[in-house]
Amino acid sequence: MLLPALVLELLVHLIPMVVGVWMSLKGLTQFFIRNWSAAPFKGLGNYRVALDVHGPIGGDLLSSLRVTVAYTLASVGLSWLLGTVGAVLLQRPFRGRGLLRTLFLTPYALPAYAAIITWRFVLQRDTGMLNHVIVNDLHLAHGRPFWLIGGNSFAALVAVSVWRTWPFALLCLTAGLQTIPPDLYEAAAIDGASFGRQFRHITLPLLRPVNQVLVLVLFLWTFNDFNTPYVLFGRAAPRAADLISVHIYQSSFITWNFGLGSAMSVLLLLFLLAVTAAYLILTSLRRSHA
């Protein structure tokens, strides 16, 4: 019974991965795309180029990794925070709760492209709504700031990413909150525990399993996010928002150096595996101690 599943798993996941690793060892450029097997074997040559942080390619990859880590921390942190606050506030029934929940979930339900292209329009310097509001209406800024190029692009990217992912955190945490028995809160209230203490001592500990998975999933999604930067900035992302997925795409599809791109992808995979393993070990250890 397990065999078909196993075969499919091999086909869908393992084989592409093995092919990717094989490509990363080859000098697979446009000269060989018609006949991959003819590409020269480069061994770890592609990896040396990608890891040479003093060279132009390795240096750019490292700076892209830094940007991506900062972006992921900011986006996951804010999404989780907003999701938690939203879920707790929406926990008790009140008029219009269903409406609010639906409204909050909308960004998650929108097709990525349509949603992000709208942000792109909003963030344009001359015709964008954001500048219209903060410069023309509120007079908060002097001169029109750029949001899609230059240093502000990082903030713009984080904002759009949070807008897109926090509803997922809200959804998961709302579901998690349903599993906490109301008696606990009643008992705590009778004992005189404030809202803050209830949150710290009941809500957070009981949400821990949900949070463990949620944060990991958000981390992996955000780290590998391609749609948001690609639709927002196009193929040439500003340096301040040069995420690694787009960076690798640039290094392989745009320059047709698929060997180097594959090497970068394998390195990214190893990095994510290491982070994930460390995260799971750490969180599980703390749980078993608790």
Binding site: Q30, R34, I149, G234, R235, I254, T255
Partner: protein, 482 residues
Amino acid sequence: MTLRRLGLLLATAVLLSALLVACSSSQSGSQSGSGSNAGTTLTYWASNQGTSLDNDKAVLQPELDKFKAQTGITVKVEVIGWADLLNRILAAATSGQGPDVLNIGNTWSASLQATGAFMPFDDASMNAIGGKDRFLSGSLQATGAAGQPPAAVPIYSMAYALYYNKKMFAAAGISAPPTTWDELVADGKKLTHGNQWGLALEGGSVSENSHHAFTFGQQYGADLFDSAGKPQFDSPGEVAAIKRYIDFMAVDKIANPSDAEYANNQSVTDFATGKAAMLLWQAADTALKSHGMKPDDYGVAPIPFEAPAPPGGRHVNSMVAGINLAVFANTEHKDAALQFVKFMTSEAEQIALNKDLRLAADCPGGVLGPGVPDRHGQGLPGRAGEHRRAAAAGGAGEPVRDPGRDRHEGPVRGRGQRQADHLRRHQGQAVRGQSAGQGRRLGRTAGWQRSPRPDAGGGRRPNSGSAAPRPSGAGRAGAAPG
């Protein structure tokens, strides 16, 4: 009941597909057996030249019907937008499953040639399509690396030019378009006021910027590759050239800083809608028209240059921009494909297509429309008198050569000045011959060409163009018919 119906349906489908397979195999069988290609079906990937994919299809279809009437060969055309075309070609090259004939941006020629995905136009193939002489030699040199048979042949040509808004020029008291960058800056300052800017730039477009980096670099005497083929993008001349371009916005302030975000041809929109008075673009007519700008509202002039010329500076206005026609190496219908290439690059088709698409034809005769008395530019009425260079260009069959400008050409350029493509043609208006594709630099520029169009943003025609510079000397002024 429903199950049985489903079974019937399935059986019918299987039978039908078997029949179809039989049909298609018999087709290809008959075609390879006999000398005639009648009955063959070719697949053609066309690039987007008109105002929309549908518009392109509408322009092409009558010509394809004509081809079918002549040869019995059916051509199925698919028009592919610029944002997708290179990826589609890449996928086709990788899988070996592609069209029979296709369009490529001519800057891609060398890099796609390297993949071996296209049939090389060796002497036999070249003769089969009517010989080298049917192409302008400048364009023909933008078809692959030097010393190799072309990977494609030219079908449409374009060149950069300065588009300017006549009303704004008149309102600012400027009588003629600028010929030097200093003049352009001075004019630009007069034209910049209120919501109007002197110049529109496509600042976020990788391909536009690299085209300008090349052309400006040539004007500043900088080559992107040294004689050994080593890249030297940061040579002092190149740095000065790119600074000249950037300074329009940063120092001279004649371009809207917001243009730095533009990568989807917004600068063309700004020019067409009166937000900017000047634009550096290639073959902008259809785009301007689609934004509601009338042909009489704007003028076209050669790209200005730096005066006095920097050391080694060459008077280059544009790279040889354009579209090439390639035959996919895996085609099973090579003869039919060559017949189709021959048809598409014939003088009659070039005139018909380029008239509809407002481009420059690639055959020597094709730059002139029907009814033009002389193919070689003699006695053609340019839009003479419209401005000072037009007078030099249009008048009497002299090459587009302004005496003041030629001294910038170093001995480097002596070679290979050929007959020209031209800049622009317009219904009822003169074509301002811009000039001689000089070519021959492909050896050195192959590396430049090797990187495929890096832009995304999907300009309508951002990829077109090759690295061969186009000096403005020794050209000809042609005129399109009225």
